[in-house]
């Protein structure tokens, strides 16, 4: 039906796994919309248990990188690897199942579902809660076992974020800060190897931010997690990230240790203006 006659000259990427010591490695990752190169030549290398920052002025292409990594957009150039496994060109849900989980800049919760059910949606694909549709419909034992286990796990996750008491409230009724936390909890529920946080501290007051920093640290340690985050709050970034990449106009401006990169004159110029 949909013949590829009209398709843009997009050569399908042939997936090849590589040897890599990094949790996430991207090679020359880029995308162009029409003629506009929104992101080009991004090479990220993120080690295990690292909290990696992706910063840059507005419109630098940070969220686009996230969208590329999570399969929302398909890269026009380059590829990316999770522990050496090539994930380029996979669909969003497949990438998630491989081990990428993300939050959104504009919160995207399942608003008309309760908090605990939001998290349970994230748990759906875990092998330990496996039960088929048939088992669910006919209420076979595995359904109940899976449900009980999922609920327990969801409560544990909510407890970490201090949301346990809110678990039966609708997600849309939560205050803003808690909605952010719920999004992270929900992302964690998919048991990712890499967590992508898109401006997790946006709109939070200093107390909440500090709280969040602690939570992220906690996650990193206790969940054996690697985190890639986008943030504008430099204090937040320097307090959390050991390495960062600075994007500007879709290209990498600087990368490396947080302090060094932030003191890079190019970066300061990009931020302060020039």
């Amino acid at each position: 039906m949909a013949k590829k006659i009209k398709a843009p000259k997009h050569v399908p990427h042939k997936r090849e796994n590589i040897e890599s010591e990094y949790v996430l490695e991207t090679r020359n990752l880029g995308i162009s919309f029409g003629g506009l190169k929104a992101v080009q030549d991004v090479n990220l290398k993120i080690k295990k248990n690292q909290v990696y920052g992706l910063i840059g002025p507005n419109g630098a292409g940070k969220t686009t990188v996230f969208n590329l990594l999570t399969g929302v957009y398909q890269p026009t150039t380059g590829s990316f690897y999770l522990n050496g496994e090539d994930l380029t060109g996979l669909s969003q849900e497949k990438i998630n199942r491989k081990g990428f989980a993300r939050t959104f800049q504009n919160i995207r919760l399942f608003n008309n579902m309760t908090v605990v059910r939001n998290v349970m949606v994230g748990l759906s694909n875990q092998p330990e809660y496996k039960c088929t549709l048939f088992e669910s419909i006919f209420r076979l034992p595995r359904h109940f076992i899976a449900e009980r286990k999922m609920r327990k796990r969801a409560k544990e996750l909510l407890d970490i974020f201090g949301l346990l008491d809110e678990r039966n409230n609708l997600a849309c009724n939560l205050p803003y800060g808690k909605q952010r936390k719920l999004e992270i909890a929900r992302a964690l529920a998919t048991n990712p190897k890499l967590l992508l946080l898109d401006e997790p501290a946006a709109g939070m007051n200093p107390n909440e931010t500090e709280d969040l920093v602690n939570t992220i640290k906690y996650i990193c340690e206790n969940f054996d997690m690697t985190i890639l985050l986008i943030e504008h709050d430099m204090k937040f970034v320097s307090g959390l990230c050991d390495q960062i990449t600075v994007l500007n106009f879709g290209t990498v401006l600087a990368e490396g240790d947080t302090k060094e990169a932030l003191n890079n004159p190019e970066v300061i110029k990009a931020y302060i203006g020039g």
Partner: protein, 437 residues
């Protein structure tokens, strides 16, 4: 065992089953109870034909409304072709029962044949559900609604022209070998659904209609069993997650394709079953009964009962069917048109009341939403404190009314230009909320 003892032993079994159900599943209990009372009455005294016929209509309407609600209320997609699925079930099931009854020389009330027809009707409708479901993968909102409407019309046109006497005559007039002529004649005969007049499939006589009603009640229970169990499982959470925010659902690893297809297929299958029930109660089965207007009638039941409320659908389908029956007897002549006007006005008012952003405060103050469902919850099931209202087991009763749903639905068209899994998402609805980056 004599008839009476047998009856009581069955009753006892059903009784214990009912008690067990009533702990968690109120609607099963009520429907079971109604069914039992109906059965007792049907068996004990010959009931009026009109009563049995009315109940027959109610059972069909309830199955249709609940299955449509599965798509509209829970998946959040508008289907204007539900009558089309029903037509597929009615015609194919009816055709099968016609063939079987003729071939086996069986009675038209043969339950075995009825069950086979129900299965075939459901399967064929489900296949159509796959077709429409595929459209649902690429389209959303208004566009999908139009596709479902178009589907319903196509089904209607195909069935209304499904009389091939002329074609057979033309083939017979050619000089083809006899066996080819016979072959074509056989094929066309198989595809013949009566055309303009409709299919005269076997149906239950009025006096036996109560059997069809009981089967209808059992099918309602089956519908509820399947749909409610799906909704109260991880699949159901995934479906409501897709409704609430498709992009986030994908990011949570939910296979949107699979779930959307599944919802359309299941909903279509039940509509198909309702169609078979319909074909067993009506003669002829005419394609003109399954037009766009009938789809709208089902939609009205769903909307008035509350999108996303199964109990609401059951109640409103029953009440509207009874009201229709009552009004069509009471309103004669020109007055009958007022019924349509009434439904149209009620539909508009209910939607505005439930959805208008400006009425949010009023809504919260009056809190009428799902009034009946809430009354049910209040009286039967849930503790009266507010946290229990939000108890997650009951949360599938919630209707999306917030702007957020707009966010989901505003992206009408998902196009896949590359033919791969690229995620170019066409924005047609234009988002109203400035939150987007």
């Amino acid at each position: 065992m004599n008839k009476k003892e047998k009856f009581f032993s069955v009753m006892k079994k059903v009784g214990t089953g009912a008690q067990k159900f009533s702990k968690n599943y109120l609607n099963y209990t009520v429907i079971l109870a109604v069914m039992l009372v109906f059965t007792i009455f049907a068996l004990a005294t010959p009931m009026k034909d009109s009563t049995a016929l009315l109940f027959q209509k109610i059972t069909v309407a309830v199955i249709l409304a609940v299955s449509l609600n599965f798509v509209v209320g829970f998946l959040g997609e508008l289907s204007l072709g539900h009558a089309g699925f029903m037509a597929v079930g009615a015609f194919l099931g009816g055709k099968l029962s016609t063939i079987l009854v003729n071939a086996l020389g069986a009675n038209s009330t043969n339950i075995f044949i009825l069950i086979l027809s129900l299965v075939l009707g459901a399967v064929c409708a489900a296949v159509c559900g796959v077709v429409v479901g595929f459209a649902a993968l690429r389209l959303r909102g208004d566009y999908l609604a139009i596709v479902t409407l178009a589907f319903g019309e196509i089904v209607r046109v195909v069935f209304i022209n499904s009389s091939y006497d002329n074609a057979i005559n033309k083939i017979n007039a050619t000089k083809l070998p006899e066996f080819i002529k016979n072959f074509f004649a056989k094929i066309l005969e198989l595809l013949d659904f009566g055309g303009a007049l409709g299919l005269q499939s076997p149906s239950f006589p009025k006096k036996k209609m109560y059997i069809l009603v009981i089967i209808g009640f059992l099918l309602i229970l089956f519908t509820l069993f399947v749909i409610q169990n799906i909704l109260k499982s991880k699949t159901g959470r995934a479906i409501t997650a897709i409704r609430d925010n498709e992009i986030a659902a994908k990011a949570m690893g939910i296979d949107v394709t699979k779930h959307k297809l599944m919802v359309f297929v299941i909903s279509a299958a039940f509509a198909g079953m309702a169609g078979v029930l319909f074909s067993y109660a009506n003669k002829p089965v005419s394609a003109s009964s399954f037009g766009y207007n009938y789809s709208i009638e089902i939609l009205i039941m769903v909307v008035l009962g509350g999108m996303g409320s199964i109990n609401g659908s059951i109640i409103s389908a029953s009440l509207i069917t009874i009201l229709n029956e009552f009004l069509s007897k009471k309103l004669t002549g020109d007055n009958a048109i007022y019924k349509d006007l009434f439904y149209a006005v009620i539909l508009i008012l209910v939607i505005i009341y439930n959805n208008a952003p400006a009425l949010k405060n009023l809504r919260e103050k009056l809190n009428l939403k799902n009034l009946v469902g809430k009354l049910f919850n209040k009286i039967f099931k849930r503790k009266p404190n507010p946290s229990s209202v939000a108890s997650d087991a009951a949360r599938w009763d919630v209707v999306p009314t917030k702007i957020e749903m707009n966010e989901v639905l505003s992206t009408d068209v998902v196009i896949d230009y590359t033919g791969e899994n690229s995620a170019d998402i066409d924005e047609r609805g234009g988002s109203d909320n400035g939150k987007e980056n």
